[in-house]
Each structure stands twice: as C-alpha cells, then as structure tokens.
C-alpha cells in the first residue's frame, strides 16, 4: 500500500516536472497518468499492490471533488447576478454533449461492427 502510493506520487511528480520543463498545456497529473500508462505497457501489467491501491483510491474519486466544490462560496455574488443564464447554458449544453457523444459512439461502433462482419 505504502509502496503503491509512493509509485503513484512519483509518476505525478514526473508528470509535473515534464509539464514545467516542456511547457505542456496539460495538467501534471494527466501527464503522470500517460507516463504510468506507458510504464504498464512496457512492464505488461500492474503489480497487484498497485492495482489494489488504485482501485481503492478510484472508488472514492467523487469525495476528492468536494473541497473544490465548496469553493462556490467564493462566487455567490456572480451566481446571484447571472445565475439563471449560467444555469440554463450549463444544464442544456452538458446534456447535449452527453447525448451526442453517447449516441455517436453507439452508432459508430455498430457501423464498424457491421463492416467487420462483412469482410
């Protein structure tokens, strides 16, 4: 567990360092994820301890957004001014993006499957 957590932090650190060094537009942890992904391909799988720790961490991923979420208190006045417009725009566009992505993926996979079975 301690070893696995250290490994995750080390990959995050490497990601942050790479972002600072190469001035990448991506956040450090996302680059760290890419680095770990490459390491897993080279190694041919994740060690058991790392897989277990990661599963434990990811099952509480929602919790980790709570502290930033409470930051809405910093913007209560903006919300009072244009909250309705913001609310409508966020709600409609988020659901539209989910619907378009989900349907497009379903159809595209069906299409490629049909093509595959014809060959």
């Amino acid at each position: 567990m301690l070893w696995a957590l250290t490994a995750l932090l080390a990959f995050q650190l490497a990601g942050e360092a790479l972002v600072a060094w190469l001035q990448l537009p991506a956040p450090g942890p996302v680059v760290g994820m890419a680095l770990l992904f490459i390491a897993l391909i080279i190694r041919g799988g994740a060690p058991k301890a790392l897989a277990e720790t990661s599963r434990g961490l990811l099952s509480h991923l929602s919790l980790m957004f709570v502290p930033a979420g409470v930051g809405v208190t910093l913007h209560l006045t903006v919300l009072a001014d244009s909250g309705a417009v913001i609310g409508v725009a966020l709600f409609v566009s988020t659901l539209a993006a989910i619907a378009v992505t989900g349907l497009a993926m379903t159809w595209a996979m069906r299409l490629s499957k049909r093509k595959g079975s014809q060959e």
């Binding site: 957590l5 932090l9 990959f11 995050q12 537009p25 991506a26 956040p27 942890p29 996302v30 760290g32 994820m33 890419a34 770990l36 992904f37 897993l40 391909i41 790392l50 599963r55 961490l57 990811l58 099952s59 509480h60 991923l61 929602s62 919790l63 980790m64 957004f65 709570v66 502290p67 930033a68 979420g69 409470v70 930051g71 809405v72 208190t73 910093l74 913007h75 903006v78 244009s82 417009v85 913001i86 409508v88 725009a89 966020l90 566009s93 988020t94 659901l95 539209a96 993006a97 989910i98 619907a99 378009v100 992505t101 989900g102 349907l103 993926m105 379903t106 595209a108 996979m109 490629s112």
Partner: protein, 238 residues
C-alpha cells in the same frame, strides 16, 4: 455555553475539524444516495458541498480556513488521476478496437459541449466575460482555467462552472443515456467523461471498469482537444 464556544474556536483553528467535516459530509451524502437507490438529485458530491457550504455560512468561516483542512482530501485528486492509467491499461484491447469510433464521437461531443454553451449563454444575453468563462466548462479544471484565461474569461469563475458541469453530468447523464437507449458501457463512459470530466469519470467508475476507462480517455483527450482548439475557434467567432 462559553465552554462550547471556546472549544469551537480552538478546534476551528486546526485543520482537523474541516477535514473531519468534509469526510463526514461526504459519507452522509453517499449514504443518502445509496439508501435512495441511486436517486440522481441525491448526488453525494452535491449533498456534501451543500452541507459544507451551509456549515461555513452558519459558522461564518471563510473558504481559506475550510480549505486548510480539506486540502488533504483535495490533494488525493493528483494520485487518483494517475491511478486512472490502470483501468485504461486493463481495457487497452477494447480501446484499440474502437479507436476510430471513439475519436470521431469524442470530437463531435466536445464541439457540441463548447459551442452549445457559448451559443446559449450568448443568446440569453450573458456578457463576454461570462461566455468566455463558460466555454471550457467540460474539461478538467486545470486545463479549463488556462483556456478561460487565454480567451478572456475569469479562471476562478470557470473553476466553479467546471464543477457544476461535472455534477450536472454525473446527476443526469446516466438517466439521459438510459432514456436514449445507450446501453454499451464504452459509449456511456465516453459520454460522461467527454461532457463532465473527472466528476463524470468518478460516476462512470461506479458503472463498471470499462465505463471508467473510456471516461478517463474521454476526459484526457477532450482536455487536450479543447486546449488546442477552443482558443482558435474563439478568435474565429469573435
């Protein structure tokens, strides 16, 4: 009574109080959500945030004091993001097989999310700063804040809108996808990650590992796509 006030003043000056409150609030939220059989309005993140905002307002605590304690939870977001590489690796074969479908659907969904947000906010009369702050709302918070600053938005307002977008997607996304007869875990995960980044991914992880992996990919790729394309599109539009 003065004893109680003294104890409160003492405790609220240490990070322990707000760290514990954050964990308790989330677990109450999670309990209520599970108890209701997964009712969308009882989203655990939303419940926890609402409870904590109420506590902060009632006790007249500022966000900085709260964050002194909550930052320990916030910090775990980094290693947890790195950990997404593991479900991604486990699903590598599935991802390779559906790569063309994945990339084209993601590009469509990403454009829909950003352009419809710009269009609706602009049509309803929002000012340019607010529109620019809304435009990058579908990507992970660090990228969204950078893009927002680049196109003339307010990064801290964007951070809040990103969170609200995530919660909206996690709350209503699964029901909407069900309504549209999207049954495949790959499509569900991709949609949640593309529209509502990490919070959508946290929700997708609960569906199954495939959905979690596709959501993680969608979040990562949409972040890169938005960082590269949105500033160009913005300059062309305005």
């Amino acid at each position: 009574m003065s004893d109680f006030t003294e104890i409160w003043v003492y405790l609220s000056s240490s990070p322990l109080l707000h760290l514990t409150l954050t964990l308790i609030a989330y677990q109450i939220g999670d309990w209520a959500y599970k108890r209701s059989g997964g009712l969308a309005v009882l989203n655990p993140v939303l419940l926890a945030v609402a409870m904590l905002v109420a506590v902060l307002l009632i006790t007249d605590t500022d966000y900085g004091t709260f964050f002194e304690g909550a930052k320990f939870v916030h910090f775990l977001l980094g290693p947890a993001t790195v950990a997404l590489a593991i479900p991604l690796y486990n699903q590598l074969e599935q991802v390779k097989r559906s790569l063309p479908a994945l990339l084209s659907s993601l590009a469509l969904g990403s454009a829909t999310g950003a352009l419809s947000a710009i269009g609706i906010a602009w049509a309803l009369g929002a000012g340019p700063t607010v529109v620019a702050s809304i435009a990058p709302k579908s990507v992970t918070v660090a990228i969204a804040m950078g893009v927002s600053a680049e196109i003339g938005g307010l990064p801290s307002l964007t951070a809040m809108l990103v969170l609200l977008t995530g919660i909206t997607g996690a709350m209503f996304g699964p029901a909407l996808l069900h309504l549209l007869c999207v049954r495949d875990s790959r499509a569900k995960g991709l949609a949640l990650g593309a529209a509502s980044h990490g919070i959508g991914t946290a929700r997708a992880v609960q569906i199954d590992e495939t959905a979690g992996a596709f959501s993680g990919i969608a979040m990562g790729l949409n972040g890169l796509l938005t960082a590269a394309m949105l500033p160009l599109i913005w300059r062309w539009l305005f």
